[in-house]
């Protein structure tokens, strides 16, 4: 997940909690305040009427048209002692002007006069105004909550996005970077400490790598050249010796063996150097290659070469396997796997090849399964050295696959060795 979205998601929970808490408290405080104000109005109203009554003055009209009402009833002393002297509550009060009942807030007060008589006054005030007000407060608090939440998130995303620009430039540079090719300098157009540090470190690492890469390339090139020449010279000298007329049979035999060993050494050198080049990424320049065609060619070639041993091939063409790979490497991969299959097939048997859009497999008959854990390591030979084999064929095939996003797998099924090359996801 991209960093911006992850940060946004992380933001959401605490924001919702904080804003929600604030909104809820704000609403509760306001509604509590509104209720208290109503009660205070009722108290003043009640006190006013009591004061009038006790001072012997005229009492106000019970239904004065302004929705608030009162009534006074005389009560006994027992009643006064048993009930709380002040009571607030909610009730349905009758509004004369509306000729209907309305939800109201009421207040009851017990008081006594000079003659010791007890009274209870009930005052009431309809609450629809307050309730409507509270409803509005709730509604608008809710809207404010949503607006704030969205606004804060959007602002958060924009702010982070803006500040991550240098980081994104670095990411883009990393996408474009190909080892071995001339790379643009690491972008460090920023005065943010961390990004600058990151850019500088990456630049140093890249420079160091590029330097070592060059050194290694030069070394491999030198080694290849330097070793090949003396080896070739040795080989030629032996060939010249073999042409001497004064050669006896024994010495000739020894010379032939020597020549064969030398040939092995030359092949080993060539393959080892090829393997090093592949692993050093010197064959990473890729183009679209149709491996089905390569398979067809290599099967045709090997059929001819091994016809003497009765080894034939069958090809199941289930699709065109096209992938991005260096053309030489495609040839090396297919060639190596095919040659392996043919060499290890018993007389008069068949090498079966299966190819489809996402890969291919080559199988040949066998007795016992190979050691999967060491199969693709260099110089692995099952059960003793086979003459002429470098032991590097599978290691080479494996490296080529690794560097080109392919998976090389081995299976032993129904007495067959099956090697598959599949496009990695």
């Amino acid at each position: 997940m991209r960093l911006v979205y992850k940060i946004t998601l992380t933001f959401i929970a605490p924001l919702v909690i904080t804003l929600g808490l604030w909104g809820w408290l704000s609403y509760r405080t306001m509604s509590s305040r509104i209720h208290k104000d109503t009660d205070m109005i009722l108290k003043d109203y009640s006190d006013n009427i009591i004061a009038r009554k006790l001072s012997g003055q005229e009492l106000p009209d019970r239904f004065n048209g302004a929705y608030n009402t009162y009534y006074i009833k005389e009560v006994t002393e027992d009643y006064a002692l048993e009930n709380p002297s002040v009571y607030y509550g909610d009730a349905e009060a009758y509004l004369k002007s509306q000729e209907d009942f309305a939800s109201s807030r009421i207040r009851r007060q017990v008081f006594s006069d000079r003659e010791g008589r007890y009274y209870e006054i009930t005052v009431s005030l309809p609450t629809f105004e307050q309730e409507t007000l509270i409803e509005h407060v709730l509604w608008w608090t809710g809207i404010l909550f949503v607006v704030l939440l969205v606004a804060l998130l959007v602002i958060g995303v924009l702010v982070i996005d803006y500040n991550m620009k240098p980081f994104r430039a670095l990411m883009k540079w990393m996408d474009d970077y190909v080892p071995g090719q001339v790379a643009a300098p690491v972008p460090s157009d920023t005065n943010v400490l961390e990004f600058k540090k990151l850019a500088n470190t990456v630049q140093e690492a890249v420079d160091r790598f590029e330097h070592e890469y060059e050194e290694r390339k030069i070394f491999i090139g030198n080694a290849s050249h330097e070793l090949q020449t003396p080896l070739a010279v040795c080989s030629n000298r032996i060939e010249m010796l073999l042409e001497r007329p004064d050669l006896n049979e024994e010495i000739a035999e020894e010379l032939v063996k020597l020549h064969r060993s030398l040939g092995h050494l030359i092949r080993l050198n060539k393959t080892l150097l090829l393997l090093s080049k592949v692993e050093n990424g010197q064959y990473d320049d890729a183009s679209e290659q149709n491996l089905t065609d390569y398979l067809k060619d290599v099967l045709a070639l090997n059929d001819e070469v091994y016809s003497g041993r009765g080894v034939s091939s069958s090809l199941n063409e289930g699709g065109q396997f096209i992938c991005r790979i260096n053309d030489q490497m495609a040839s090396v991969l297919v060639g190596n796997l095919a040659k392996n299959a043919y060499i290890h097939s018993p007389r008069n048997s068949e090498v079966a090849v299966n190819v489809w859009d996402l890969g291919f497999s080559i199988s040949n008959p066998g007795e016992e399964p190979l050691d999967r854990s060491r199969l693709f390591h260099r110089f692995y030979q099952p059960k003793g050295r086979r003459e002429g084999s470098t032991g590097l064929g599978l290691a080479l095939a494996y490296s080529v696959c690794e560097r080109n996003g392919l998976a090389l797998e081995y299976e032993f099924k129904e007495k067959k060795h099956i090697f598959s090359v599949i496009l990695k996801k």
């Binding site: 002297s85 008081f111 006594s112 000079r114």
Partner: protein
């Protein structure tokens, strides 16, 4: 592991804040708690005994307000008196006139001069002002030096 510790401390802080906030809501509710004459502060009792000797109490309550608790006393003759927490007089309302000697001389003189036919029905001692209400429905506000700041009717 580290993120769990951070999450825990943050969560604790959130709950603490929430708890405090919810608790503070309780304080906004104030009640009219009934009290007897003897439960009034001494100064309040003295005031009533001095100015209204023998007068019965119709009812008395205390308002447990967080900011300023005060006492409300309704005498059986319809006089309503409000006392501060200390028992000092805060406000007195009487439809039939306020006892002599309660209102400061300067105010009395002013009213006698401007409204000779009016008597006091209400007298309030504010923190920085005095407020009186006359029988002609006029409300006058004085500052501490007894200069008129406001007249309202």
């Amino acid at each position: 592991m580290k993120s769990k510790i951070i999450k825990d401390t943050v969560m604790k802080k959130i709950f603490a804040i929430a708890a405090i906030a919810l608790a503070s809501l309780q304080i906004i509710k104030a009640d009219d708690r009934p009290v007897t004459f003897n439960q009034l502060p001494a100064a309040a009792q003295a005031f009533i005994n001095t100015n209204y000797p023998g007068e019965k109490i119709s009812y008395a309550t205390v308002d447990d307000d967080f900011i300023r608790p005060d006492y409300n006393v309704m005498l059986a003759n319809g006089v309503k008196v409000q006392f501060e927490n200390s028992g000092a007089l805060e406000k007195i309302e009487s439809r039939n006139g306020i006892p002599e000697g309660l209102v400061p001389v300067q105010i009395k003189d002013y009213v006698k001069m401007h409204y000779p036919d009016a008597f006091f029905v209400e007298y309030e001692i504010g923190r920085k002002s005095y407020e009186v209400k006359l029988s002609n429905r006029l409300e006058i506000k004085f500052n501490r030096s007894f200069n008129v700041i406001e007249i309202d009717d």
